[in-house]
Amino acid sequence: MVQAIDGKWKILREAEYTYDFRRMVYLNRRTKKVFSFEFVEDHSESEVQRCIDEPSNGAEWRFYFNSPPSASVQRELENVLG
């Protein structure tokens, strides 16, 4: 439902996330957090907000996926997302 996406997208955009349509992830390069499309679809606005607010040292990428990505998927994503 677009209405539900609207709310979550607004939260993500306000937190300076962009959407990478090729990898279907929302990412913030400063905080180095990545949310999968599926994770955002399946979680409420407040859960997404809580994940955004989690402290991050910005040193290593943190992945918010429904199923944790394997090490090789993480490496691949880290390479392509910069």
Binding site: I5, D6, Y19, R23, F37, F63, N66, S72, V73, E76
Partner: protein, 215 residues
């Protein structure tokens, strides 16, 4: 360790191994759906339409779709055996475009009855509360045991919009298909669906009025 290219090569080989089955399923399913819908198609009014088409998903689109099905749209290069194109339910697809909504519902009832063991996976589009597109997938055992077929029943105006969108953008570049998941693109698409729905509703409203007036 495998790389992405090795996974894609393995999937391309699989695609061409499956291709005869995919073609058989598409042909069989199209013939069957047309046959089941004959009674409806024979009684259509001049402005009403029920159009049945089939298509075989091409190799690059199939690979892209399988990649997009993975969370993060990324294959795990350390687990190449996880991936098979048989996980896709729409390698062979039949689409029924129907207009107006009364015929759409009638077509859906008939297909659901004829393919009752198939899995239903309706699609909601935009802000619609109810599913706008009905989708069923399953095996046509007469055609293949290894490739599933998919039947989509789509309101005609939306189906024609998809065809334009597909042939203009995604057909030449299957890797752009995921553009449609972009939040702002989804909002734009939602407005298109809403406008097409309004158009169809108003058309049916006027037509209903006209019929009542003629009585």
């Amino acid at each position: 360790m495998t790389d992405n290219r090795a996974i894609e090569d393995h999937l391309r080989e699989e695609y061409f191994r499956l291709l005869p089955d995919i073609r058989r399923v598409a042909e069989y399913l199209e013939a069957e759906v047309k046959y089941f819908l004959l009674p409806i198609r024979r009684k259509l009014d001049r402005y009403e339409q029920v159009v049945v088409t089939s298509r075989v998903k091409d190799c690059d689109s199939a690979l892209e779709k399988l990649r997009r099905k993975q969370e993060g749209a990324t294959f795990d290069t350390e687990q190449p055996t996880l991936y098979t194109l048989r996980d896709l339910s729409d390698l062979a697809g039949v689409r029924v475009l129907a207009f107006p909504s009364g015929r759409f519902a009638e077509v859906d009832d008939e297909i659901r009855k004829r393919f009752e063991s198939w899995e239903a996976d309706p699609i909601s589009l935009g802000e619609a509360e109810t599913a706008l597109v009905h989708r069923y997938s399953g095996y046509c055992r007469e055609a293949s045991d290894s490739v599933r077929g998919e039947i989509q029943i789509v309101p005609m105006l939306i189906g024609l919009f998809w065809e334009v969108e597909h042939s203009a953008i995604y057909k030449p570049s299957p890797d752009l298909k995921s553009v449609a998941t972009d939040p702002e693109m989804r909002q734009c698409a939602s407005k298109v669906y809403e406008a097409l729905r309004d158009f169809e509703r108003q058309f049916e409203f006027l037509l209903g009025d006209q019929k009542l007036g003629n009585r």
